[in-house]
C-alpha cells in the first residue's frame, strides 16, 4: 500500500471513528432514559433523542471503521510496532493488542446489538439493549483513545 493511500485511509479511519464515537455516546446516554424535570437543559435535550434511530448508523460506522482499521493493520505492524518495540514501549504495544481484541469482540457483538435494537423494541430486552450499548461505547472509547495516542507516538507516514 502506497504512503499516500495509507495516510488517506488513516484519515478516513479517524473520521469514521469520530462519527462512531459521537453516535454511540449519544445513544449510550439516551438509552439510560429521560429524566423529565420540566427544565429544558442541555443534558435533558441531549438525552431526549430516539436512541433506536442510532443503531443502524452505529453498525455501519463500526463495520466501516473496523474494515479500514484492518486494512491499515499490516502498515501498523511494519511501521509503528517496530518503533514501539525499539523504544521498549510495552504499555503502548499491549494497549494496541487490546484494541485489536476489543475491535474484534465489538464487531462480533454487532448482530446481538442489532437484534436488541430491532424494532419493535422488546421490553424484556431493555437491560440487554442498555448493556450492549454501554459495552460497545466503552470499546469505541478505548479504541479511539489508544489509536489517537499511538498515532501521536508514530504516525503511519514515514
Amino acid at each position: 500500500m502506497g504512503d499516500s493511500l495509507t495516510t488517506a485511509l488513516l484519515i478516513l479511519h479517524s473520521l469514521l471513528a469520530v462519527a462512531l464515537l459521537g453516535a454511540i455516546t449519544h445513544q449510550a446516554i439516551a438509552v439510560r432514559g429521560r429524566t423529565d424535570t420540566g427544565k429544558k437543559t442541555f443534558g435533558s435535550r441531549y438525552r431526549a433523542v430516539d436512541a433506536a434511530a442510532y443503531a443502524g448508523a452505529i453498525v455501519v460506522l463500526f463495520v466501516a471503521a473496523s474494515l479500514i482499521g484492518a486494512s491499515l493493520y499490516p502498515s501498523y505492524r511494519m511501521i509503528v510496532r517496530p518503533v514501539l518495540e525499539l523504544n521498549d514501549l510495552r504499555v503502548a504495544n499491549g494497549s494496541f493488542e487490546l484494541k485489536e481484541h476489543f475491535a474484534a469482540i465489538g464487531l462480533l457483538m454487532l448482530p446481538a446489538y442489532w437484534a436488541a435494537w430491532r424494532k419493535p423494541l422488546a421490553a424484556e430486552h431493555a437491560t440487554a439493549r442498555m448493556s450492549l450499548t454501554w459495552i460497545l461505547a466503552a470499546i469505541v472509547w478505548w479504541n479511539f483513545l489508544i489509536g489517537d495516542v499511538l498515532n501521536n507516538i508514530k504516525g503511519l507516514a514515514h
Partner: protein
C-alpha cells in the same frame, strides 16, 4: 429476516470462538504482509512475519455462522437475551487477562 435468537447465537459463539482462536492460535488463514500472501499453513522465515488476526476473525465468523445456522429454532428461541452482554464482558475480561503480560 434473520430471527433475534439466531443473531444472538452468532454473536455468542463467534466471540467465544474468537477468544479460543487467539488463545490457542487457530487462524483459519495466515497473512504475510511482506510478500502480501494468504496461506492456510505457516510459511518459512523467507516470507517475513505472519499476521494471525484476520485468521482468528475468520475462525470466529465460521464458528458463529455454523452455530447460528445449525442450531434448531426451538433452541435459539430459548436463549436468554442477557447472555448477549454477559458473554462479551467475560470475553473482554479474558482479553485483559491474556494481554496482562504487556503491563
Amino acid at each position: 429476516m434473520i430471527e433475534r435468537g439466531r443473531l444472538l447465537l452468532f454473536s455468542l459463539a463467534a466471540s467465544v470462538g474468537y477468544t479460543l482462536a487467539y488463545y490457542f492460535n487457530w487462524p483459519l488463514v495466515i497473512y504475510y504482509p511482506v510478500v502480501k500472501e494468504l496461506h492456510l499453513v505457516r510459511q518459512g522465515p523467507a516470507d517475513g512475519f505472519p499476521i494471525f488476526y484476520y485468521g482468528w476473525l475468520a475462525t470466529a465468523v465460521v464458528i458463529g455462522a455454523a452455530a447460528a445456522w445449525m442450531t434448531p429454532r426451538r433452541w435459539t428461541h430459548r436463549l436468554p437475551f442477557d447472555l448477549g452482554w454477559i458473554v462479551p464482558i467475560v470475553m473482554l475480561i479474558a482479553a485483559l487477562t491474556y494481554e496482562k503480560r504487556w503491563f
